[in-house]
């Protein structure tokens, strides 16, 4: 499976690593060169592209048209939504996942904006924390 990960910070790098381990082909797009250098070092199996993940030409060059999955996992919600919309409506990507940074923005992460799966980190973490408290 061909996966494009947009955002190469701690979340993006870790996602790329896990996907590689499970046998996917992974390309990471990141605007900050220093951050991308860390991905190259820590996740040597992933292809990397420096640039803006909402730039249509750059996404095209990174293989968006042939990607099976796009993961928009930057730290900025409006950017993740823009990436999702371009991936879904501009390139017809089959499955689009997007990270919700601020839970207040959760209402926007729906199919009309190109999102198939919203990953709400604060919600996930909150539930795990609550579960952890109950276990003890």
């Amino acid at each position: 499976m061909n996966v494009l990960v947009v955002g190469g910070g701690q979340v993006g790098g870790h996602v790329a690593q896990l996907l590689l381990t499970s046998g996917c082909q992974v390309t990471v797009i990141e605007t900050r060169p220093a951050v991308l250098a860390r991905v190259r070092r820590d996740v040597p199996g992933a292809a990397t592209v420096v640039g803006n993940g909402t730039d249509f030409t750059l996404l095209e060059a990174a293989g968006a048209a042939t990607a099976d999955v796009v993961c928009a996992v930057t730290g900025i919600d409006e950017t993740n939504l823009a990436i999702a919309a371009i991936a879904k409506f501009g390139f017809g990507v089959g499955r689009v996942l997007a990270r919700v940074n601020n839970p207040r923005n959760r209402w926007l992460f729906e199919t009309d904006l190109g999102v198939d799966v919203a990953v709400n980190q604060a919600e996930l973490m909150a539930q795990l924390v609550v579960q952890g408290i109950e276990l003890t």
Partner: protein, 216 residues
Amino acid sequence: MKVIVVGCGRLGSSLANELARRGNIVTVVDTDPAAFQRLAPGTTCRTVEGVGFDRDVLENAGIAAVDAVVATTGSDDANALIGRIGRSRYRVPQVIARLHDPRQAHLYRSLGVHPVSTIAWGTERICELLSFQPLEAVLTMGDSDVELLRVAAHTLLVGTPVSALTVAGEIQVVSIERGAQAFIPISGTTVHDQDILCFAVMSASKPRLRSMLGQE
């Protein structure tokens, strides 16, 4: 008309002030309350502090009952998103979003939002001004009393009826070259993009023609 302007920067505040001056009911949204100082003193604009794609902020700004939303924040991602929310979630009749980076036009189109690109517009306008050519006669008659001038139609003239470019006894469009053909206009003829207009003009009326053509 009820309008929400998101982003109270230079463009947003100027737009809000002008819309309010023309009697519209304007609500301005910005994350930074200090930005509202750009609004005219004693402004009738209502201000709402917050993120322009936050549901509570938009609903507090009255998005369910407005005629138009204009997104003029500094972020193309946010502007495209606000435009899309206005259209698909609240069915706002008119949605306009400012585009900063012309390369991001694809993003706006993906979201079905009409972009207004100030950069592309400014570039085109400056190029037009730089490529300004004085009116040169291709033929003169009498003692240069009447001149025949050939002029490429300015984009601002597109759609103008030829009758609006006619002044009895002074200025007359005698032919239009359009693509590979030329013809003589009739009363209902309008100017198309890339037309070449041929004018017969009295020499004394050239300044008037120049101003009609937007060359001043």
